[in-house]
Amino acid sequence: MTKKRDRRSVLQGGLGALAATTMGSSVLGSEGPGGGHSDEHGHEHPHHAPANRYLEPRRTPQENEALAERVEALENLLVEKGLVTRETLNAIVETYENDLGPMNGARVVARAWVDPEYRTRLLEDATPAITEVGYGGSQGELMVVVENTPEVHNVVVCTLCSCYPWPVLGLPPRWYKSYAYRSRVVIDPRGVLAEFGLELDESLEVRVWDSSAEVRYLVLPERPAGTAGLDEEQLAVLVTRDAMIGVSRVEAPAP
């Protein structure tokens, strides 16, 4: 905890309006739904090759090596000039790799599922309700939670850049930032959702939330059937990042 507190003080001291904090510890840790982190030692993960070539412009290993060298030179220069310290940069990277992620939003969703009064507070004024669970800060200073029901399906995008509720979902996945998602989900939401495996009935209303300002949107998914016997922590494990963006449903656990 000491380490965590140190990181937080660095962030709060140095970032001004861009500061990000988690105000509680995450019970699920970094292995929660959708969690994951890159290797501190620069190891390149092998799982983003040909099948994902449209996610982002492709870079050869040589190009990535060159980028790594340029950024290292830039970091050295900024440190030499006294504009930033390595410790500050380390603390920021560690916070976003370890403390922020969909495991946080999952706790908010699970609480709303088990506590009707909390659910009401969350839907009426999400920012303080999310603070109650322990999350807030940069890219989550003004939160709105929208609820999926049998009649209405909500899905969130940022067509202009990559706005995303960091305190509760962490940094966005590549597909959320992709040109395909940003361009298409506002004009063809059903086609996009079908590519995520979500076929919606014609009668269902689809609401697309384009995060164009500093308000951040989180989807409260429907609680799956067959989960009446689960407690809050067991429910949180079921809640995925994609369901809280609105491109999938929460599935009941296998019997």
């Binding site: 790594a68 202009l160 004009i187 939401p189 164009s212």
Partner: protein, 221 residues
């Protein structure tokens, strides 16, 4: 600006591609670029930061990966503000810097302006011009500078569904022209209004728009 970043409704980018068990950063350098920006090096406010990404030449914007855009935008600002000297820039930019659209105004840092909006909200100032359920038309405006009014809603008629209170205005703040806090609304546009026959009959887009982006729907009908 009518930039390539304003992607809502464009065609041609293909299917959605997903990646299982995605790491937060795919390469160590991505995390370092992110952290440099988050540490506030150079002192850009968030609107200025976003605008500097938009000002990357469209060739570069589309060809760069996500954190390359952050890097390119940081270097663009470092060049413009003199944060890094030409010789220093040459050492960290492997090729010549991307040709970017020049800023329309030199910008001071105003990272505290969000607090200003919160104060105004607490004091209950700034009576909103529009009420929930009012019909509004998004202005058909095409500023060359930063704006958060996407092309796909300009000229379209929607309905106010949420009133968020005063927020600083990105169109001026990105250019050092002051916070101009004003009411921010969430506006619902039906897919039929936005996309005509291509829009789903049951569907809508909800988008946050500042008061200066909106007129009463009957005013220019």
């Amino acid at each position: 600006m009518n930039g390539v970043h304003d992607m809502g409704g464009m065609h041609g980018f293909g299917r959605i591609q997903r990646e299982d068990n995605e790491p937060v950063f795919h390469h160590r350098w991505e995390g370092r670029v992110f952290a440099v920006e988050m540490a506030g090096v150079g002192g850009a406010n968030i609107d200025h930061g976003r605008h500097s990404i938009e000002r990357l030449h469209p060739d570069r914007y589309l060809a760069y990966s996500y954190y390359e855009r952050w890097l390119g935008a940081f270097l663009l600002r470092a060049q413009e503000t003199g944060l890094l000297a030409p010789a220093e820039l040459a050492a960290v930019a492997s090729d010549s810097l991307p040709p970017g659209t020049p800023p329309t105004n030199p910008e001071p840092s105003d990272t505290l302006l969000r607090g200003e909006a919160a104060r105004l909200r607490e004091e209950g100032r700034m009576e909103p011009r529009f009420a929930i359920a009012d019909r509004v038309r998004a202005r058909n405006m095409h500023p060359e500078g930063h704006t958060r009014l996407p092309r796909y809603v300009r000229g379209k008629v929607g309905t106010i569904v949420l009133s968020h209170g005063p927020q600083v205005f990105p169109d001026t703040r990105a250019h050092g022209l002051g916070p101009h806090p004003q009411p921010l609304y969430n506006v619902r546009f039906t897919s039929a209004e936005l996309w005509g026959e291509s829009g789903g009959a049951q569907d809508s887009v909800f988008i946050d728009l500042w008061e200066d982006y909106l007129d009463p729907a009957e005013a220019d009908g």
